[in-house]
């Protein structure tokens, strides 16, 4: 367990989201800047977020909590873990997108003037990253709602970017369902604030600060707390893709351009889980039975997600349903509220971000090379796209939870945490869902990469280096974190300590 933390004023939390926001403003003027400079901005800004995240992580691991703008911004172990994940995945995705967006038909409809829409694409891309980072560093419970809704607004047009029937349908559902859901979260946030202010223990705007509300949560009337939690779970749970609030997710993840699918699946739903954990965990110490409810919700999500994935022929939809399932594991781990559970949940959050970014990039590479993402139309790609094949198989084995990959250790930690908590029913279901995940994804890998290549795939070639480079980095990370899990221990330990409130 960690020692006491010291609060330290810093401008880094603010820069972490102001840099991509400013870069986004510049990117909107891409017609004057040119495509190269716009794309440079798209790579550089998240890279700066990553570097700031690394420096903030160093200080947090040394025992500090960084604050900015008074106490409006606050970065502890949990926040910095998310900032780093967003920065790393954002940088690799931006790099991946450099060639991807230039392939006709992948960013916009065939025949549409894709080059003219690049500034809008990258401007929104950078604002999307900025709003996600903002949500992870704000300490204001109402601004957390504002930031989460802002991520929906910045990504809504990106989901519909193709502007054809399928994309528009996905974009409409995405904006509508998430906005309805997040309105529930607003009420939950406001009720939490009002209840904290009513305790008369906090002065001025202190009742808005999540770090302060935690200290008075035990004084909030039980009925009010229950209603607030219910609204927060519906609101942020919808955004996180937790069943039964998940119907928007497969449509949006499948129809968005692949770089956006990567961000949605790898980081955006994690940021929503962060918002859920940050707010609901406030109530955990006083009402530990909440853990059973949240774990049950997580178990339901993991089972439903992987069962739905079974029937998919579209690779992106299959991966999207798999994301629903995997977010169930994260929710189960964090929902337990114990140190081991939170550690496992957050480790899986990080691992799933890397694995799912890798898998979506591989599917994007297949689409880039063959023009299709249907499993039934793909076969024998191993010889034509060896790097993509190797990366996809590594991602598959990692998400299936096989050693020596990162997914194995995080899932194992969650299983151990469930056993420690005596939730054997949840453990049995989680293991069964894990086996089903292995079957579903290994079957896909075998179908797509082995067997005889159809005529349509004969001309397919490996994707350019700027596309397979990020994929290789992610694949290596999946192996390295599986073999050397202590690399991330100091940061995950800090992050888990922020959330772990039960069983200590």
């Amino acid at each position: 367990m960690s020692e006491q933390v010291a609060t330290m004023a810093s401008s880094m939390p603010a820069w972490a989201f102001l840099v991509p926001f400013a870069a986004g403003v510049l990117a909107f003027f891409g017609r004057w800047l040119g495509a190269r400079l716009t794309q440079f901005l798209a790579v550089a800004a998240p890279l700066i977020v990553t570097l700031l995240g690394l420096e903030m992580a160093r200080r947090v691991v040394d025992g500090a909590v960084l604050t900015g703008w008074g106490n409006e911004l606050r970065v502890d172990g949990l926040s910095v873990l998310l900032v780093l994940t967003i920065g790393i995945v954002g940088t690799l995705t931006a790099l991946y997108s450099v060639r991807y967006v230039k392939q006709p038909g992948l960013l916009t409809r065939v025949g549409a003037a894709a080059a003219q829409r690049l500034p809008t694409f990258y401007g929104l891309f950078l604002w999307f990253i900025a709003t996600m980072v903002w949500g992870c560093v704000t300490n204001n419970i109402v601004m957390l709602y504002v930031a989460v809704e802002a991520t929906t607004l910045t990504s809504g047009l990106l989901v519909a970017f193709h502007w054809d029937k399928r994309a528009l349908e996905a974009g409409y559902k995405y904006l509508m369902i998430l906005t309805i859901g997040i309105t529930f979260a607003l009420f939950g946030c406001v009720l939490t604030y009002a209840a904290a202010a009513a305790t008369n223990r906090l002065t001025g705007g202190q009742a808005l600060l999540i770090s302060e509300v935690r200290g008075v949560a035990h004084l909030i009337p039980p009925a009010t707390a229950l209603i607030a939690v219910a609204f927060l779970v519906v609101g942020f749970g919808t955004k996180a893709g937790i069943a039964p609030f998940h119907p928007w997710l497969p449509d949006a993840h499948a129809e968005a351009p692949t770089p956006i699918s990567v961000l949605l699946s790898a980081v955006m739903i994690k940021m929503a889980v962060y918002a859920l954990a940050r707010t609901v965990s406030i109530f955990y110490p006083r009402w530990p039975t909440l853990a059973v409810f949240v774990v049950a919700l997580g178990v339901f999500t993991m089972v439903l997600g992987i069962v739905m994935a079974l029937a998919q022929d579209d690779l992106k939809r299959l991966l999207a349903y798999s994301s629903v399932s995997q977010i169930g594991y994260v929710v189960v781990g964090i929902g337990l509220g114990t140190y081991l559970g939170c550690y496992g949940g957050l480790f899986h959050l990080l691992n799933h971000a890397l694995i799912k970014a890798l898998l979506f990039m591989c599917v994007g590479a297949l689409t880039y090379a063959t023009g299709t993402r249907r499993i039934s139309e793909l076969s024998g790609m191993r010889d034509r796209m060896p790097i993509t094949s190797a990366c996809f198989v590594i991602g598959t084995l990692a998400i299936a939870g096989l050693p020596p990959f990162n997914g194995f250790l995080s899932k194992l930690t969650i299983y151990l945490a469930l056993a420690q908590a005596g939730m054997w029913w949840a453990l049995a279901i989680a293991i069964a869902a894990g086996l089903l995940t292995m079957v579903v994804l290994l079957r896909v890998a075998r179908t797509v990469f082995w067997g005889h290549a159809p005529a349509t795939a004969v001309a397919a070639r490996e994707v350019p280096a700027t596309m397979w480079g990020p994929m290789v980095v992610l694949a290596v990370a999946c192996v390295v974190l599986g073999v050397f899990p202590r690399l991330t221990f100091p940061l995950l330990d800090r992050a888990a300590n922020v959330l772990a409130t039960l069983g200590r």
């Binding site: 109402v142 502007w163 406001v190 604030y193 009010t224």
Partner: protein, 224 residues
């Protein structure tokens, strides 16, 4: 802050009319009239906020923001959008007669329930008193009517109006639950709603062009 100094009669009247405008916005089949009902509700909310501002001057700021975002910009977007398409709403899941009955039952039932059990939503004693109690009951009733609208209407334009009602319900509750919310936070919340409505209508305009309708039941491409 206390209830002394508030014009209770005016606030009660405005609150009741807010609920009625919600029912009209949900039930009327002409989209232009529904948008008008929404606009009237927005103005009433501005009036309510200004009335409450007698005991909490910071609400004047909130009233000004609501005037611009809810009573000017949002109706402008709605009328512009409706002006380019069919004015009659796509037939909803529930027919007019039964729907009016359901809305009336929701209105009276939910209002009575929340007014009677306001302590569930109101952690402060002030929020449980007089006009603040009424405000919370009205806010939750508008919220439920908005939810009813988005769940039962097939027309995408009408679901946007339902979403606006949903948001109005939550924003109204801020008067009783969070009267001292800082201006920056209020501004963030208010701006978000306008941008949401704008983006949704922008995407629905694309849907109307590609699908030839705003019927959400026609959105079946992703099931193929």
């Amino acid at each position: 802050m206390s209830t002394a100094g508030l014009n209770g009669g005016l606030i009660q009247t405005l609150s009741m009319v807010v609920v009625i405008t919600s029912v009209v916005a949900v039930e009327v089949r002409r989209l232009r009239f529904a948008a008008m009902a929404y606009s009237a509700q927005a103005l009433l909310i501005v009036g309510l906020l200004a009335s409450f501002a007698a005991v909490n001057p910071s609400l004047y700021w909130w009233a000004a923001v609501a005037l611009i975002t809810k009573a000017v910009l949002t109706p402008w977007f709605l009328f512009r959008f409706i002006g380019h398409g069919e004015d009659r709403e796509i037939k909803p899941l529930i027919g007019f007669g039964p729907s009016v009955v359901v809305a009336a039952l929701l209105m009276t039932g939910f209002y009575r329930f929340t007014h009677g059990h306001v302590a569930l939503f109101a952690p402060t004693t002030l929020a449980q008193e007089g006009v603040f109690r009424t405000n919370l009951a009205v806010a939750s009733t508008v919220f439920v009517l908005g939810l009813y609208c988005v769940l039962t209407r097939r027309d995408a334009t009408k679901t946007v109006i339902g979403l606006c009602l949903l948001e109005n319900g939550v924003h109204l509750s801020l008067v009783s639950l969070a009267p001292e919310l800082p201006e920056t936070t209020l501004f963030g919340v208010a701006t978000e709603v306008v941008v949401t409505v704008f983006l949704l209508l922008y995407v629905i305009a694309g849907v109307r062009k590609e699908f030839g309708t705003t019927d959400t039941f026609a959105l079946r491409e992703l099931q193929r």
